[in-house]
Symmetry: C2
Subunit: 401 residues, 2 copies
């Protein structure tokens, strides 16, 4: 019997309790492991709740109980979650977390502490919700050199962009709707400005190269400037617009960024719609593999936390190693990355477009006679930015995946 | 240093040698394991080949060499491959295979022999080529009850159906093209009659329920009757036609079959085109997750075999257990499965359609005035078959996913 404690009885934490309860027999049957939740740590009481008797308010009860072998950290935030995770690991208890902020900021440090105390720090649920993307990168695609990872990593913005695409709606409108439906928060900045996707691509990039890719060093652009007219051009081109986290090994450097991108119809990520996530991993032998599923939500995310619990339980007394050191990865400057762009310009800009970008083919929208758009060649971000800055008729630009 | 032998230097076998050679340092860096191919067993010599010096013709050399710890069986076929695999396992050498016929027919037996001799029998490459689907079911989605698995499991037929969809081409035409391009064999029966997909869904079904699902007991229907007119209806309905392996737990029974199915545009498998495979796994907590990638091909398949080699190498001296016993699974009769059907009928069949299927809504194609089609309600296969047998104006029917 493996006893588990849950830190934080919010959405994900209550999901973890539910998964371990409902699937207790199934997990026992499939893996031979008998797992039971002993404590649920929360500031609140839950009178009348099925798990009321397991609720405690004192972290020391858990840390000092030698029966507890695994802690699920589903609190979120960085300060208290860090402190509790660290104390659990130092007491030799493995920690399984859904907390991407903490993993992104302190992953290598907490992994190292786990190693020193012969336990594990696992974080499957921190990226891609229920999609087992971390385990696929770490334990499944093991005979390949992973050359790039590209993902739709944020369900809220994907829901919004899907709605803009299908309904021709504008940004403000779909944001309000997403907020009303509870998909977006009242302060939606972490999602719509790309920070959430940025933390996730930083974690995946670190696992790809084995060193630490700091989110702070990434170029991150959100979806707040995307309009219904952008989608008109996308549709005319047989494309859609997605918020992509992209990361690629270029020699020994990691080229990672987050931005909205035009995605072609035959691209595997084109069909990843609504609140779903999709992550494309390219291996040097495997080629492209894509992993698709619910990127958020109580039960899918809890399912991922619980899969970590099972992995730890199957390897009790052993540190599950992780290819992510604290050594900073060499990150390529965004200036040096190369991309293709769609540029929207005022209709009378032909001369300056020609001077700056050479011969281009225009895409015209009947409904928007005052403007047109063209695609650039593949060029460096720096070279593009310089030309774009000089383009007085410029309306906006968007990258092409 | 872990020494490996490869049985069979054909497409996949030579791919395994290449992956272990090219990615030697990457595998060492990521997993700490130093893997080297010591022998390649084949009837032929390969004069001038890079690996010429490793080629041997005598299985005994390998079986009797205590340095060889892992054998990759990439021969195909059932007789010799079974014999060699068995002998390797009995000598305590783990076997990693891409041989789906052997795995489907003798999986539980070979797993049991591996267990008795404290080594492992792994078969990631037997389903889905490079897609790590076996490892996802066995080692990643471990906290869920897997309720269903639905997959596009055969690249050849998916290539053909994609071409029929995109180009309006007819079956015979695309088969010839696929044969000319080397995607389909001169004797294409195993692919086009659904046997290959059947073996793969049998393996996945066995892993889902932990007991043995025999391919011989599955209802398997291929794509040989699919025509360009079927695709006209599909397009009119916003759907495509895919050859699906479907398997579902219904109580303690497994309901598994292979057949062409109409697939809606928003279904995650809709966009799995060309030679790619996609497998949708539904967990009771996770919901839908999809795994997508190259379902065949030298290097992707070899990448999967080599990932098995790494898994074995990381667990030397330990049997990697597999939830697949020889006990026959309870399989639901196809008669009892429920489905929805699209039925094509002669234009003048309204009265009998009405009598047999009640009120229906017709789909008409301008180019085919002599016929029309309608969708049934969800009904049992038996009930449908009985009505369909009585329908004198029937042209054909196809299931809806």
């Amino acid at each position: 019997m493996i006893k588990v404690a849950i830190f934080g009885f919010g959405t994900v934490g209550s999901g973890v309790a539910e998964v371990l309860d409902v699937n207790h027999d199934e997990i026992l049957k499939r893996t031979g492991i008998d797992i039971e939740v002993k404590y649920i740590l929360d500031l609140r009481d839950f009178p009348g709740h099925k798990f009321e008797s397991k609720v405690v308010h004192d972290i020391d009860m858990i840390i000092n109980d030698p029966e507890v072998l695994i802690c699920c950290e589903t609190m979120g935030g960085k300060r208290v979650a860090y402190d509790y995770s660290r104390r659990a690991l130092e007491a030799g208890k493995s920690v399984c977390t859904s907390n991407k902020e903490l993993v992104e900021a302190f992953g290598p440090e907490l992994i190292e502490i786990a190693k020193e105390h012969n336990c594990s720090y696992l974080f499957e649920a921190s990226v891609g919700g229920g999609i087992p993307i971390i385990r696929n990168i770490m334990n499944c695609i093991t005979a390949d050199k992973i050359e790039s990872i590209t993902g739709i990593l944020n369900g809220t913005t994907n829901y919004m962009l899907t709605k803009m695409d299908r309904e021709g709606a504008d940004y403000a409108e779909v944001l309000k709707e997403a907020q009303d439906m509870g998909y977006a928060e009242r302060n939606p900045e972490a999602d719509v400005e790309g920070h959430d996707a940025g933390r996730k691509i930083a974690i995946l990039s670190s696992l790809m190269c084995g060193k630490n890719v700091a989110y702070e060093n990434l170029y991150v652009e959100g979806i707040t400037s995307i309009t219904s007219v952008d989608f008109m051009y996308a549709r005319k081109l047989g494309m859609s617009i997605k918020l992509l986290g992209q990361s690629q090994m270029v020699g020994d450097k990691v080229a990672a960024m987050v931005s909205p991108c035009l995605v072609k119809k035959r691209h595997p990520l084109y069909m990843v719609n609504d609140v779903f996530n999709g992550i494309l991993v390219h291996g040097n032998m495997l080629g492209d593999a894509m992993f698709y599923g619910a990127g958020a939500g109580k039960l899918p995310t809890a399912s991922a936390v619980c899969a970590d619990v099972v992995a730890v339980a199957q390897s009790m007394g052993k540190h599950l190693s992780c290819n992510w050191s604290a050594e900073p990865a060499k990150q390529m400057s965004v200036d040096d990355m190369t991309k293709q762009f769609l540029v929207r310009v005022k209709a009378d800009s032909a001369a300056e477009v020609n001077a700056l970008f050479g011969d281009v083919t225009y895409i015209d929208l009947e409904s928007q006679p005052q403007e047109r758009a063209f695609m650039t060649d593949v060029m460096s971000e720096k070279e593009f930015a310089d030309c774009y800055a000089k383009l007085t008729g410029a309306i906006s630009r968007i990258r092409i995946a």
